[in-house]
Amino acid sequence: MSIRRQELSSKQLALILLLPSILIILCVVIGPLIFAFYLSFFKAEPIIGGISTKFIGFSNYIHYFLKDPLFWSSVRVTSYFTVVSLVIELILGISIALVLNKSFIGRSFVRSIILLPWALPTVVNARMWEWIYAGSSFGALNGLMKVLHIFPADYDKVWLGFDVPLQNIPLIGNFMEWVGASTALNMIILADTWKVTPLVTLLVLAALQTFPDSLYEAAGIDGASSWHQFWNITLPLLRPVLLVVLVLRTMELFRVFDIIYILMQYSIRVVGVYTFETGMKFLNFGRGSALSFLVGLFILGISLIYVKLLYSEEV
């Protein structure tokens, strides 16, 4: 009897504790999401006092899959952004973590300042790099290139330009053009990587510190080279944290908006920018909703992988 009362009060308490959060999330996230799904089947435009809607079935979705080349080019450019950023972030993040895991004078200082780029607001980061990339003689990167004699003294590169690097090499050049990998996009990848790599570094570093030294000592006695140690001991042990980073970062990279919109407005159409343009610039709410839904579904798919990984790897 008393056990049953305990059970009941536990459920009631859970309800009381969860209710405010669930209500907030239901009303302000789930509600609008369902509304967006509903809108995606309509031709919806703003009129005074709301919107005019006309039911058009799956036309919005069909439009994107069959008729709209911009949609596919935005998928390509977003995929390029995501994959290239991920590769650089992982390699750089792991390398920096391995260096910072060694003992050296001033290690705790270096470990603290590593957080700085991560804490910088995205908008400040975007405009800071815009200034560094300034395409004239007062841009810091152009200045640096000239000081290092990589560029001749009278040459200034437009870093946020639309020319495609490696354009003259067959196949690679064609591929770069096909995905829309302009110089501007590559420079934005660099700027974004600068901000996010510390996160990868810190997560990897935290994992590295939990590894027992005895593992490496044994390998050292066995005469394994450091490359072997990394490949056969460190990397397999890092697998769980790397998987988490991989999935989390894929989701965040795929929905990128801020830095690209601030630096290039609508001229590099990643999926996020294209959605925003359709919905908020052309006020085509139905089509914009359909696009948001496609993006949302994709990200939901990745997040399900994430959940699966967490439950199989960590617990």
Binding site: I22, A36, P46, L203
Partner: protein, 299 residues
């Protein structure tokens, strides 16, 4: 001979290590340092050839002062957006911590039906891109405001801080619940059980035992929330217009135009605007790293 070689090798690897460390430090600090130094340039020197002019000949704090000068248009906008960002991020942090902690406790400790489903859906919600929510939000808020105006109400949602606070709370709340749940799971249940045997109720045990123990988690989560709210751009871009509600990201993104470089203003205001998050992150570093790991790896 062999020993000498080994020593040289050891020295070499030390030297390489320090070179790498210096490279990492320069890579991390140089861009931000350049932003600060740029803020010290008078405008004329700022727009000059970089091969010769890396430091201002006549360094000045004028750019920074201009941002805090309430008599100028730009200073006024900056001060108001700074104020709005503090009010919005602060409120969002407090609201999210209160509701999020309660929900997280229930999800970490209590047994009830559909628990796993709720946890799963929280993770998924946290992943929804804000760009995808902007369109329904916009339509709903437009419609609300239309009827509010029809009803001669003084209150409306567009261009108010309250609107942004509500929207921010929703997309950050799931995140807060998720991280706090991770922290609660690391606190051993024995302590709570002992307290309850001594006659505490669940609520008392929560307030007297669990909350004090999870204080580091609360600090970390609070800072995360603050940083997320301080950083948010899309929603603020769509739903703010005047000094009544514009936030720092919107202010900084709007500086300059097609015809005018405003890099002196961008450098000064950008530096000032990044100070609160950077100072918070550096002071509470240890908690943050713990939170990052707890939030992203603990199932």
């Amino acid at each position: 001979m062999g020993i000498g070689k080994a020593r040289i090798k050891k020295h070499m690897s030390r030297i390489i290590l320090y070179v790498l460390v210096v490279l990492i430090v320069v890579w991390t600090l140089a861009p931000f340092a350049w932003l600060f130094v740029s803020g010290l340039f008078p405008y004329k020197e700022l727009i000059s050839d970089r091969t010769t002019s890396w430091f201002p000949e006549n360094p000045t704090f004028k750019n920074f002062q201009a941002m805090f000068d309430m008599s100028s248009h730009i200073g006024q906008r900056f001060m108001y957006s700074l104020r709005n960002s503090f009010i919005i991020s602060g409120s969002v942090t407090i609201i999210c911590l209160i509701f999020g902690t309660l929900a997280a406790y229930a999800l970490a400790r209590l047994k009830f039906p559909f628990k796993n489903n709720i946890v799963m859906s929280l993770i998924s919600i946290r992943m929804i891109p804000t760009v995808a929510l902007v369109i329904p939000f916009f339509v709903i808020i437009r419609t609300f405001d239309y009827y509010l105006i029809q009803a001669n109400s003084n209150f409306h949602f567009y261009d108010t801080k309250i609107n942004l606070i509500i929207l921010y709370v929703t997309f950050i709340l799931g995140f807060v619940i998720w991280i706090m749940r991770g922290f609660f799971l690391t606190i051993p249940t024995e302590l709570e059980e002992a307290a309850r045997i001594d006659g505490c109720t669940r609520t008392q045990a929560l307030i007297k035992i669990v909350l004090p123990l999870s204080a580091p988690g609360l600090v970390a989560t609070g800072i995360f929330t603050f940083l997320l709210a301080w950083d948010e751009f899309v929603l603020a871009l769509v739903f703010t217009k005047t000094t009544n509600s514009i936030t720092i990201p919107v202010f900084i993104s709007a500086l300059g135009s097609q015809y005018i470089h405003a890099f002196d203003q961008i450098a000064a205001s950008g530096f000032v605007a990044s100070l609160p998050p950077i100072v918070l992150a550096l002071i509470f570093q240890k908690f943050l790293i713990k939170g990052l790991t707890a939030g992203s790896t603990k199932g």
